[in-house]
Amino acid sequence: MTIILFGILFLPIFSALSITFFSQKHPSISAGISIAISCITFLLTCVLCAMTQSQTLPIEIVYTWLSVGNLSVDLGFLVDRLSLIMLFVVTGVGSLIHIYSKGYMGKDPSLSRYFASLSIFMFSMIGIVLANNFLMIFIFWEMVGLSSYLLIGFWMTKGSAADAAKKAFLCNRIGDTGFLLGIILVWSCLGTLRFGEISNLLSTNPAAFSSLATITGLLLLCGVIGKSAQFPLHVWLPDAMEGPTPVSALIHAATMVAAGVYLLARGFDIFALSAAWPQGLDWLKFSTLDVIATIGAFTALMAALIAVQQNDIKRILAYSTLSQLGYMVMAIGLSYPIAAMYHLTTHAFFKALLFLGAGSVIVALHHEQNIWKMGGLQKRMPITFWTFLIATLALCGIPPLSGFFSKDYIVAEALHKNAYLGTIALVTAFLTTFYMGRLFFVSFIGRTRSKVSDHAKENSTIITMPLILLAIASVFAGFIGIDSYLMPHYSSQSLANTNMVFPYPSIDQAPDNWFKMLIYPFKHAPMAAILSICAVIAGGFLSFIFYFNAKNDILSSKFKTVSLWLKNRLYFDELYQNSAVWLQDKLALICDFIDRWIIGGIIIGIIYRIVDLIGRFCRFSQTGNIQTYTAIFVLGIIVLSYWVINW
């Protein structure tokens, strides 16, 4: 067990190191190492799953990494259902994307660097998943930030890529500031950072945080906002599409951005605490979960809206990712972590598939990303077309594809708990179908819109094979019972007081065959299921009208202002540029001015000049005239004797 865990965690970094030191000049060997190791980690994950079937979870293996005073940080592995499922997603999707990358990036001269960075990413992501304490999560949290930075800026000679990488890292850092403070608060209030101990403590004494509960939750949430690109730190994710497409698929769609959701699920005990504010702030009545739900819903809606008017295929998908992440966060906010994790898993499959499909198109079209220059790919790239279609449908939530189930749980919960959030969820579902329909109809259906798309050809097996595998996963992920697998993780714990509505009252009542599963949403919350299907149909229909065989975007010509705002992503970048960045720049300017001129120039200059001046002045008493000297000599004697005698 320990060996397997160590293997899963450290094999990828071993791969990164060996690529860096030994095979930097041999790209194919590097690719081989990296792919092999990611596949091995996947196999090891399977072995781990199999082993844990017979054991009681969670299993915790702990080594001390650091211990000073009452601060103790572990290198610890926490194996429970939550981490297993996440691990499965990360290594599974990761391996496929590794393979895909070989096809996609094959000719790049810095392939070794690419695979090394990818391995670092795998290492860090697995670290987040397996971590048993907050600080270890934070460490790997930062490390995924690094690998994201490296991979977004992979084509670093391109200014935009380098800038995007920087932006991504900084936005993450802003979130992490809160995250680290939150961790410090957790530690100072509870005295431990281990998840297991935290939930035990909180279940015995929910008031352990006293008045700091909500603040702690919100600070931890900052980390999530940064990593999962929730509003207001969502701006980095669309820019991150400057990176290679497999990276976008792996990091910025399937796994890393979902880490925020994973953290929310992991630390749910803290987030689920009821509202408690310190004195002076107690007029703020809301709890952490309220904030989480609101942010999630808002992000879902906003991103979906922006996606409607984007033209870059990857950017549309990026906003779609934002929107779906918003769903997941909202699900947590509705105290429904199982649904969030469920959606996370299915989303990982179909969104990775969408990105990889997009990547396949991009390769075929020689790095053309504008959807208005594509079109007519149905016949030219059949495998890509069909897999992309499956993924689109899954994303939109057409039963019986996986997306339907996971999304439906969230919509149902939202409608059940809060009508506003429910409405937002439904509207977002509608918008999702609309923009995905737009994307699909414009880029795949109809006639070709440019020369490059005329010459498009289907890619080789190494690219299509992962597509097919992921398509299979996207179709069937709804039936394999991810939700019921996760349920024991939560039901036993302190969630009783958060009035969480489970899809199944207990594990025994879970549907036991695929048909029951298929119809379960209709049985469980028929209203929500029907409404969401209606939204999907409406969205699909509308996009069919607008965009089937369309020559240009009708929306942007009809609603110019709205379209402009949406195209410009609601001017968030400009806003930040003109507020935060401006402020920071001016502060720096002031400090620099003070340092350069006031401290460095005036103060030091004055002191120096004064001393120098006194020196020059004293020097003039040396007149060169002996009689002056004698006079001073005698004067000195007179003064001294006068003073001594009159003492």
Binding site: T623, G624, N625, Q627, A631
Partner: protein
Amino acid sequence: MIATIETYLTIGLGHYLTVSVILFCLGLLGIMTRRNILVVYMSLELMLNAANLALIAFSRFNQNLDGQIMVMMVVTVAAAEVAVGLALIVSLARHKLPIWIDNLNKLKY
């Protein structure tokens, strides 16, 4: 009467010292004010002699000879000093340099 005159006429330590100090101050003033180096040098000798006078007076006052021995030494040293000093002043003159003391101010600041 005579006694009072005697006390006035008896020349005591105070008188010697007064003369000595006056001479000393004259010497000092000479050094500080006269421009000719030779005169300055003579003023210096005057100061030495003023000190000698004080030494002799004190020697008498203290009833021991230490002061007198000291005077002998001072006189000897002064002679040596004069020998060297005058040589220097002569070579100054040889260089056709002015022997006005305030012209010797090339070295300053």
